[in-house]
């Protein structure tokens, strides 16, 4: 597996003495090439501090990290050549037009003039800003600026894109457009994408991988399905059986299963919590009851929200590395 980001005890402490704040605390994380990785965490978790260190805007207090194989301190310039960053709380030059702003950023990336014109035009179209490319950014709405900020990350044709709160202040339509674009960039151009956000519900479903961060530490990270699997193993599996017929006898039989943690019946639906995935066993027992028709047996996957709630509230110190 190839990783585009690898951190090694990466730490950032703001201030010193009594006022010291450890924003990122001995963090070890990996982001897979080709993934859409969500760095999820509540306000103040340290997401912004982390990405600012990765892109050379903040120096780490201790620890090391590599982005695309380059050291974040010694080879920051190489990183910034290949990584597009949408920073939190960004701004543009108000007195310049959208096109002029992008042109300047393209020039900073050493893109020659003719190519710059072409690329800026294409990218403005791609993010749906073509209509206001010649207007001064000072008069832009929040959403228009956001599009420009996304456009800005694409100018250098980066291998890796890092978006910090990309949909902050964007309307639902804009958020959807953003997500569609991210999927497209990932699928069609194979770009690796990292999205930092506290908006679990909005961004979660987009991600192939997540890393949940709280108080400067990763509480859990990895592929969404793997994490769900692990959570089920820790917390128990939830299975729902819908049946018709002699449900009473069936329930009595199920209760004798030693893996059962709890069981509830509501109408024809039996909700079971078990220590392992006992769907096959349930089927077997059901077959032994005459006049019982099993309509469905489903395993309920934990939602991202479940994951989030579990790992957010988890004590620091119980750190699971993916």
């Amino acid at each position: 597996m190839e990783y585009v980001i690898e951190t090694n005890d990466l730490t950032k402490v703001y201030g010193s003495g009594k006022e010291a704040v450890t924003a990122v605390d001995h963090e070890n994380m990996r982001i897979k090439r080709g993934s859409i990785s969500g760095i999820l965490g509540p306000n103040g978790a340290g997401k912004t501090t982390l990405v600012m260190m990765l892109t050379g805007l903040i120096l780490p207090t201790s620890g090391t990290a590599k982005v695309l194989g380059h050291d974040i301190v010694k080879e920051s310039l190489q990183i910034r050549k290949k990584v597009g960053l949408l920073p939190e709380g960004f701004g543009f030059y108000d007195h310049l037009t959208a096109k002029q702003n992008l042109d300047y950023i393209a020039a900073l990336n050493d893109i020659p003039k003719e190519e710059r014109d072409k690329r800026v035009g294409e990218i403005l179209k791609a993010v749906g800003s073509d209509g206001f490319k010649d207007r001064k950014v000072g008069g832009f709405s929040r959403g228009m600026k956001q599009r420009l900020a996304i456009a800005q990350t694409l100018i250098k044709d980066p291998e890796l894109l890092i978006f910090d709160e990309p949909t902050a202040g964007v309307d639902p339509e804009g958020a959807k457009a953003f997500k569609d674009m991210v999927s497209k960039l990932n699928k069609e151009q194979g770009k690796t994408i990292v999205v930092c956000t506290h908006l679990l519900f909005e961004m979660g479903p987009l991600c192939t991988d997540v890393a949940i961060m709280n108080q400067g530490r990763f509480v859990v990270q990895g592929n969404v399905e793997e994490i769900a699997e692990r959570m089920m193993a820790e917390e128990g599996y939830r299975i729902e059986v819908e049946a018709r017929g002699d449900v009473g006898a069936f329930v009595a039989k199920l209760k004798r299963l030693k893996e059962i943690i709890s069981l509830e019946v509501k109408d024809d639906v039996i909700s079971i919590k078990t220590m392992s995935d006992v769907r096959a066993e349930i089927n077997k027992r059901a077959a032994k009851i005459k006049g019982l028709e099993v309509l469905s047996i489903r395993r309920l996957e934990p939602s991202l929200e479940d994951l989030f709630m579990k790992y957010y509230q988890k004590e620091i110190g119980v750190v699971a590395h993916g």
Partner: protein, 314 residues
Amino acid sequence: MADVFVVASKEFSDIVRSKRFIVLVAIFGLIMTAAMVTVYVSIVQTMPTAPGGPPMPQRFLGTVAYMLISTMPLFGAVMGVALGCDTISGEREKGTLKIVLAQPVFRDTVINGKFLAATLAVSIAVFITSLANVGASIMILGVTPTGEEALRLALFMVFSVLFAMTYYGIAVFLSTVSKKTSQSVILGVTVWAVFTFVIPIIATLVAFTIAPPIIRPPSPGEPMEMDIESIRRYTAIVETISSITPNHHFSKVGQYLLNPYATTGGPFPPQPAQEAASVTSSLIYAGPNILVLTIVTTLAFIASYMVFTRQEVR
């Protein structure tokens, strides 16, 4: 890696199109014109009493010198502070800094580019306002400067740019360490006011306390008598204290370059007109002052680099 000229050309076009720059150039153009008119009127008034007047070269240079010396310290310093005080803090506040610094560009390049752009813009401002007024004085007074005078004027303009860049450097440093532009503006104006008004006053007060110049009251029918030695000491103290300001060094440079009769003896007591110094000699006299301005400017930039390259940008 982005070139310093990428930053410089953007910054330059930003500066020369900014209201701030245009307004400052216009105001100082007018102030210079007013200074020139004052000189013109006083010359016209003294004409009849001094037929023939002093030799032409001295008068031409003297006229223009008055105009430039009286306005340039203000212009240079205000221009420097006005252009410098939001260089970094302004971009930090707007959030453009993190976008710029997330590109493959060294932080020094950003400061160098801005410095280059400001130098060019200030040069243009100094040359335009000075040349327009010098041109006007030539036309009004009907005298043409000699080659040497033209050279002296040109050199003065170059060092005016240096002086403005000294203030610019200080302002850039303040803007690097300040979180907000409002803060760096206040600091910049304070530094300027301290150097321009407070220190000269303190210098006078201190000199007056330590070594008051002795002036004997005139006995009836006799001219006032001054104790030359006491005045020399008084002046030396004033100059020593003032020498911590860039303004002092710039005004020295102005005196040496625009008045060929100025020597290193200090302005007081007035020396009898000796032989005029050559341009080279004037430059040599002004050398230490030019060096001080250069060093202060360089130090201000080094300090800015050191702070800026380590700074957290978020």
